[in-house]
Symmetry: C2
Subunit: 355 residues, 2 copies
């Protein structure tokens, strides 16, 4: 449990923008990073000591990766299980396998949350068409069919306005195991970025209020405009999840605010888009907080010193760059992605709001 010495090397699975910002945070603490990522010229590789470009089924590369690092973390939860099995036998991985197992599968995740006593959207396992009919009879429509695994940013989802959409929705899943989720009557979505250290210390940043468009996070506003009691509930709830998983690192917990209280939407066992505001709102941001936990360091205090609106720059939003670079209230965070594509997260801005 002694802290990893500065100068040690942290391995990061995944080379996207989250890996990029984790690598920068690691550098602030004097750590080197090695990025494992199949794609070339990935965002994280621009700010890493080494980019090991290989496939997740390349056992030799995985072994070299493990040998070259002192501890392993990741920027996304959909890492192939076989790669994790191998790496786990060679070097410590944080957050742990249980956190990944729970969050990789929507059915496991929702079962875990309800077992802990938290409210979730109504859900049912949908292994086949008969199960979908039964689930619709219980949950009702409208509802949403989602693949149990590998969904993100609204992908792998189909809405059912009525039971008549069942056949098409099931076809959209392309045979993947799925769950049906009922709609929740919520007024807002908020999220908590919480962290847990190797010795069980828990810290949380102030909850932010999220707005999505087309299934992709558009903005996060801090502080969230919700009653103080709900803010406290949200943070305590996140802490209970972290403790239940013996979690080490940062987790994003998405919550719906409803007339009857908070409903847990989903958990992400990693730094989270809705926590990017911490880069300009806190002394230590979510990325460094994650690195501190993974490295066995004490957590930083998550106190917020500014009101901020984080806005994602998606696709053509990059056309606004000339105005944004001249805006004195804006901090830019661009990901160095070579090509602009519709729906692609190219960067984000943190805008200071004078309170």
């Amino acid at each position: 449990m002694s802290p990893l010495p500065t100068g040690a090397t942290i391995g990061i699975l995944g080379g996207g923008q989250l890996g990029r910002m984790l690598s920068v945070a690691a550098s602030r603490l004097g750590f080197k990073t090695v990025i494992f990522e199949p794609g070339g010229d990935c965002p994280a590789s621009h700010v890493a000591n080494f980019h090991l470009q290989a496939s997740y089924d390349d056992e030799d590369a995985l072994r070299r990766f493990a040998r070259s690092v002192d501890v392993i973390t990741y920027e996304f939860e959909n890492i192939p299980t076989s790669a994790l099995d191998l790496l786990d036998s060679l070097k410590p991985i944080h957050p742990n396998r249980e956190a990944l197992r729970v969050s990789q599968d929507r059915l496991t995740e929702k079962t875990f949350l309800t077992d802990l006593g938290f409210a979730t959207a109504p859900f049912a396992d949908v292994p086949d068409a008969a199960a979908l009919d039964a689930a619709l009879a219980t949950i009702g429509a409208p509802a949403i069919l989602k693949t149990r695994r590998f969904g993100y940013d609204g992908k792998g989802q189909a809405r059912l306005q009525s039971a008549g959409d069942a056949t098409q929705a099931l076809a959209d899943m392309k045979g993947a195991p799925s769950i049906l989720e009922g709609f929740v009557d919520f007024s807002k979505e908020i999220s908590v970025i919480a962290a847990r250290s190797q010795d069980g210390q828990v810290a949380a940043f102030d909850p932010g209020e999220n707005v999505h468009e087309g299934g992709i996070l558009r903005t996060t506003t801090v502080p969230a405009d919700v009653p103080a009691r709900l803010m406290t509930d949200a943070v305590l709830l996140a802490g209970r999840i972290l403790n239940a998983l013996d979690y080490v690192g940062v987790m994003g917990v998405e919550l719906f605010v409803t007339p009857t209280g908070l409903i847990v939407n989903e958990i992400a066992p990693r730094v989270h888009n809705s926590g990017h505001w911490t880069q300009n709102g806190c002394l230590v941001d979510q990325f460094e907080q994650h690195i501190r936990a993974v490295a066995g360091w004490p957590l930083a205090n998550g106190e917020r010193h500014a009101d901020i609106v984080m806005e994602n720059l998606i696709g053509d939003d990059m056309d606004r760059l000339p105005a944004l670079m001249a805006d004195p209230a804006v901090a830019l965070h661009l990901y160095g992605k070579a090509e602009v594509k519709p729906g692609r997260k190219m960067g984000h801005v943190n805008r200071l709001v004078k309170s």
Copy 2:
């Protein structure tokens, strides 16, 4: 004069901690960096897209470096002139050659400053022993003999308590062209970190108050405890220096506060140790401000949102790391240097001070 597009590559001469933090700042704006540095495993290489490890007299390497980047900047002013001549013919270099020429040589620098009408310490050119005798007769003792070039952190300096120390002091210069500087009766040293953009916009961060130990910066405190009038004088003075040099980038201007007003100690044509507090005190820090200027972007506003004491971690100060990593008021910035040596800057901390 159109801004360098995000995704472009910035070349940085020098791979120390300043290059490291410049590289991180460049990444926030989506730029890649290539570091030119003779040493291996240098701090900047840990967070750069590429480290070109070669000597400054390797013309082929310098040409490859220039070809691989869109614009060139540097983290230190003592770059060999022959390397600059070659690079300057191949790619834009910011800050410009004139700024380097002036700041590389203490005699040229002081002459430039007095020509602008600013006060400096009394000084005299010391090409030989006879000139030193003449200089001592005019300036008096105690005084300090300094090499005209290649001095930093108190290196290349000898104090003369009396004229009797002249022979030894001159011997300490090892034949290097030198100047004699008189002592200044100052109450404080402050510094201004100022920036100028390609279209002549000037911005400055709040002046900080510096304390040195053994010739090395120990702490910088913002705000400096000096009258508001002197703060304004300091910023205006820095702006005049930048304009006079048609400067592009960030400059550090060290000033002595004396009973008769400000005296310019020295200028550094680069990001500056006394500006590290901006990393945790401003929306955009000195490193990003420099990158913005070099890339032809508009400058950010330098507004300060916190009172901060920056403290360098030098040599054995690293033994304090366990306490510092647990201090909730401290932001750590470690440089990833493999070996702790006496007098070596290993990192710094920015400590929030509740005002």
